[in-house]
Amino acid sequence: MLLLIFKIFTPVLGLLFQEQSQGRMALVWEKAQHPDLSKFLIIGALLFIIGVAGVLTRRNIIVIFMSIELILNAANLNFIAMSRYLQETGNMNAVAGQIFAVFVIVVAAAEAAIGLGIVIALYRNKETIWVDEIDILKW
């Protein structure tokens, strides 16, 4: 396992410290100084994946809800970044992205309210918040 990690990270370390990659490193440094749309989208994608991983791996249903909030936030970040980019290109409907974000937030709030209500009802009936103990779907 450690070997695998080392093998994946070596190219990255080499990227930073090897003499022969001077030109490439300068390019990366240049790009890092001027983050553009793709960086925002990548951040959004990372948040999304973190959220997905949380949903899939955690047992605590409240943390799963929090992960869902993370996913929604990643979507919002995408919306806003795209909206900004479209503003740059002079698209008149660019503001729609921000409006979508508002609605996403509304839906997230409604979802949180209902979801947590369900959590409480569930906890009251089954005395548990572990998802793997809630398996009455398999009847």
Binding site: T10, P11, G14, V52, V55, V131, I136, L137, K138
Partner: protein
């Protein structure tokens, strides 16, 4: 000062809002609630007084011009024109063309007028000319208040009489658990009524109209725990719906015809329409018909009068304020406001006069036999409203409004007096259990006396001046051919009025103290008992005088009922013309009343009822309503044809104009005296007579006692028919429609049975065989997938996502990874 009239409706609304919203919290102090209510009305009254003074009498007076609040630029577009443009579509364009031509014609006529004429006849129409361009295109309704002669009189009556009644109500409603609710409704009513009379367009009038209807409903049903009050409130509401339907149709007609609802614009345009003599049904006649149906509903005219007597189930101050002094006169207000439209249609004038006269007589005869003190007053109100309609119908709109005013004084007085009696008698309303109250309630008696003399029409009291003028106008009218019939009916109704009012006085205040002998069969009171009247000694009901908060308003109203008539003193006493300049109500109302003969606004004095021009002129510079031109020829009657004119005939006998009127005054005084004498004879001198005559005129007595069975007739003709129709529709529904549905259902069942048979034995057999095979084979696989564990299912979703990415970029990603590792290793 008159620029502040917008405050007048807002103050009662504020009071009502405070009482209605915070009333439950303020319940600890009736003083506070009453103070808020009375204070808001008093302030509104003071502002009204100051506004009317500065509008009509002060140094900067603009009477006879109209003041609309939007004139100052601060107009609030209630229904903005742009919003309607979408719905109006193409028809708006054609309407503009029509208005365009009408406006050009009017402009041409204006150019031909002398400056003086322009001021007199054209003021109302040219007032808003500066922004007519935008307004004419689409319907644009603004929320603005209008101050002119008519609305100022109504504002004064509504706030002034309302103030007296509010003060009275603080005493009358003392101890009632719904004290704050009562005053919230009353304040809301005042607001609606003021919007009704102050609005500057038909839609605002309609808003106020419905508002007072709602408040009337709420207040009639104030004691909602009593079924008769609840029923009465519903009855009032539903009966008023009939009238409101007509009113709404008329408003649609006005919008379709004139393209606007603003009074000044509508009447300016309507004045140019051709007259429609008897039997011609032009558009204005139809509009007038709709308006009249509305007025009938609100003002309880035949045949929509049935709700008003039942409305007496509400508290007595409500009866005084809403069902005597103000709301029921809204119909009169509307008639007078739209007098241009009505005067264009001789047919509708005749209808108004005839309906008014019929109502006056009809209600007066019913009033003779009623025993409930409030019922008598209710029928008296219906009858007096008939008199007012009669005045409007014969073209004497100003006199009708004059009677509205005096009637507000004396009828409010009598209702409040009745309320005081009921209060003093511990909620006893049956006059047969009263009598001799003069001794016990001296203030109430004295004030009631003034009201009695006023309504009977005894000479210096207010009722005399207005009622006499109405009868005189009917006799001398040149507007309708049936003036003499109206006069005869009105005179008989006046006799009846004097009779039943004397009867009421005699049974209540004079004679034997009947409440002393009838203690034991005392029926439960008609009004619920206030908390402070729950006396343990229920049988000892010695009447007591009411507190000052009740008799002081009575005294104020008594003074008004006594001297209030002098603002419209009869021309017969003052040399044949209305003296006093604009202090005289007839002159004051002049500018809003259209004259079909001259086709100008406000030229009442230019042509009198005989078509002659009077000698009198007022030489005051600003009162240019009156002309200084010398008298020339007799103009023709307005509609070209004039039937039998009673006054004209009498004058041809006595040869003097003023003497003719004196003759009619003497007749009306005589019939009043006759009625009073008969009443005195029947109920004081020989108390046995009523029973004898009731037996002798049994059918008539029964008819009157049962109110001519109008309620029963409506019950049979309307309610029962509606039920029958509903039953018929239900029968159709259950037999025909349900039958069809059931029949088709039966067919379907038959068909399905056949299909079911095939299905069960042929198709199912095949399917089952295959299914059994597949199940054996596949079920372990699928069962393993169904873990019942949510996150497993979510994992499958993510798997789909990964597959999607691989589908799009899989090849690229593998090459990229290959390239990367190839570079570094």
């Amino acid at each position: 000062m008159y620029r502040y009239i917008w405050l007048v409706p807002l103050l009662p609304l504020a009071g009502a809002a405070i009482n209605g919203l915070l009333g439950r919290k303020l319940r600890f102090s009736e003083r506070l609630i009453g103070g808020i209510a009375v204070g808001s009305i008093a302030l509104a009254f003071l502002i009204t007084l100051a506004s009317v003074y500065s509008y009509a009498f002060g140094s900067g007076a603009i009477w006879p011009n109209v003041y609309v609040t939007s004139q100052d630029g601060a107009s609030y577009s209630w229904i903005p024109g742009g919003a309607v443009r979408f719905t109006q579509g193409g028809s708006a364009r054609s309407m503009v063309a029509v208005q365009e031509s009408a406006r050009e014609e009017w402009a041409k006529r204006l150019a031909e007028m002398t400056p003086e004429e322009r001021l007199r006849g054209g003021t109302i129409s040219v007032l808003r000319g500066h922004n007519e361009e935008e307004r004419a295109s689409v319907l644009d309704v603004e929320w603005s208040y209008q101050l002119d002669a008519l609305s100022s009189i109504f504002m004064l009556v509504v706030t002034g009489v309302g103030l007296c009644i509010f003060v009275f109500a603080t005493g009358y409603m003392h101890g009632d658990p719904g004290f704050y609710r009562f005053f919230a409704y009353m304040g809301l009513f005042m607001f609606s009524m003021l919007v009704l009379v102050m609005g500057s367009n038909f839609l605002m009038m309609f808003v106020g109209w419905e508002g007072v209807g709602l408040c009337s409903y709420l207040l009639i049903g104030y004691y909602f725990d009593r079924p008769e009050a609840a029923n009465a409130s519903r009855k009032a509401f539903i009966t008023n719906r009939v009238g409101d339907f007509g009113f709404a149709l008329a408003i649609f007609g006005v919008i379709a015809t004139f393209g606007t609802t603003q009074y000044t614009d509508v009447f300016g345009q309507a004045a140019n329409f051709p007259l429609e003599p008897l039997g011609n049904w032009g558009i204005l006649s139809w509009i007038a018909l709709g308006l009249f149906v509305g007025a009938c509903g609100k003002s309880a005219q035949l045949p929509l009068h049935v709700w008003l007597p039942d409305a007496m189930a509400g508290p007595t101050p409500v009866s005084a304020l809403i069902h005597a002094a103000t709301m029921v006169t809204a119909g009169l207000y509307m008639l007078t406001r739209t007098n241009v439209i009505f005067q264009h249609s001789q047919t509708m004038m005749t209808v108004v006069a005839v309906v008014g006269a019929a109502t006056a007589l009809f209600a007066a005869t019913i009033g003779i036999t009623q025993n409930d003190i409030k019922k008598v007053l209710a029928y008296s109100t219906v009858s007096q409203l008939g008199f007012m309609f009669m005045a409007c119908g014969v073209g004497a709109f100003a006199i009708g409004i004059f009677h509205v005013m005096t009637h507000a004084f004396f009828k409010a007085l009598m209702f409040l007096g009745a309320g005081s009696v009921i209060h003093g008698m511990h909620h006893e309303q049956d006059m047969r259990r009263m009598g001799g109250l003069r001794k016990y309630m001296p203030y109430t008696y004295l004030t009631f006396l003034a009201g009695w003399l006023a309504i009977c029409g005894i000479i210096p009291f207010s009722g005399f001046w207005s009622k006499d003028e109405i009868l005189w106008s009917a006799a001398s009218t040149r507007y309708v051919p049936v003036g003499w019939i109206v006069w005869i009916v009105g005179t008989i109704a006046a006799t009846c009025t004097a009779f039943y009012m004397t009867r009421l006085m005699a049974m209540t205040f004079w004679g034997k103290e009947r409440f002393l002998d009838n203690q034991h069969d005392h029926a439960p009171g008609h009004e619920v008992h206030g908390a402070d009247h729950e006396t343990p000694t229920h049988h000892v009901h010695i009447p007591h005088e009411s507190p000052p908060s009740m008799w002081v308003p009575l005294a104020v109203l008594a003074v008004l009922a006594t001297i209030g008539g002098f603002v419209g003193i009869s021309p017969a006493f003052t040399g044949g013309h209305h003296v006093g300049g604009r202090m005289n109500i007839v002159n004051f109302l002049d500018p809003i009343i259209w004259n079909p003969t001259t086709r100008f606004f406000g030229t009442h004095e230019v042509v009198d009822s005989f078509g002659r021009r009077p000698e009198l002129v007022e030489r005051h510079a600003t009162t240019s309503v009156l002309t200084t031109e010398p008298v020339h020829a007799e103009p023709p009657p307005p509609y070209g044809h004039e039937g039998f004119n009673l006054a004209h005939t009498v004058e041809s006998v006595v040869h003097k104009h003023w003497l003719t009127e004196v003759v009619f005054i003497i007749i009306s005084l005589l019939v009043a005296g006759l009625g009073m004498a008969l009443g005195w004879l029947f109920y004081v001198k020989k108390p046995g007579l009523p029973d004898i005559w009731a037996a002798r005129l049994r059918p008539l007595y029964q008819a009157s006692y049962n109110k001519y069975w109008v309620d029963e007739f409506f019950g049979w003709a309307v309610t029962r028919r509606t039920m029958d129709a509903a039953r018929a529709v239900f029968a159709f529904d259950s037999k025909v429609i349900d039958g069809a549905v059931n029949g088709s259902a039966g067919l379907t069942r038959l068909a399905s049975r056949v299909t079911g048979f095939t299905d069960r034995y042929f198709v199912d057999g095949l399917v089952n065989a295959i299914a059994a095979f597949v199940m054996r084979l596949m079920s372990p696989l699928f069962r393993a997938a169904q873990t019942g564990f949510t996150q497993n299912y979510a994992l499958v979703m993510v798997l789909g996502l990964v597959l999607a990415v691989i589908l799009f970029f899989g090849a690229d990603i593998t090459t990229a990874f290959k390239a990367m590792f190839a570079t570094w290793f």
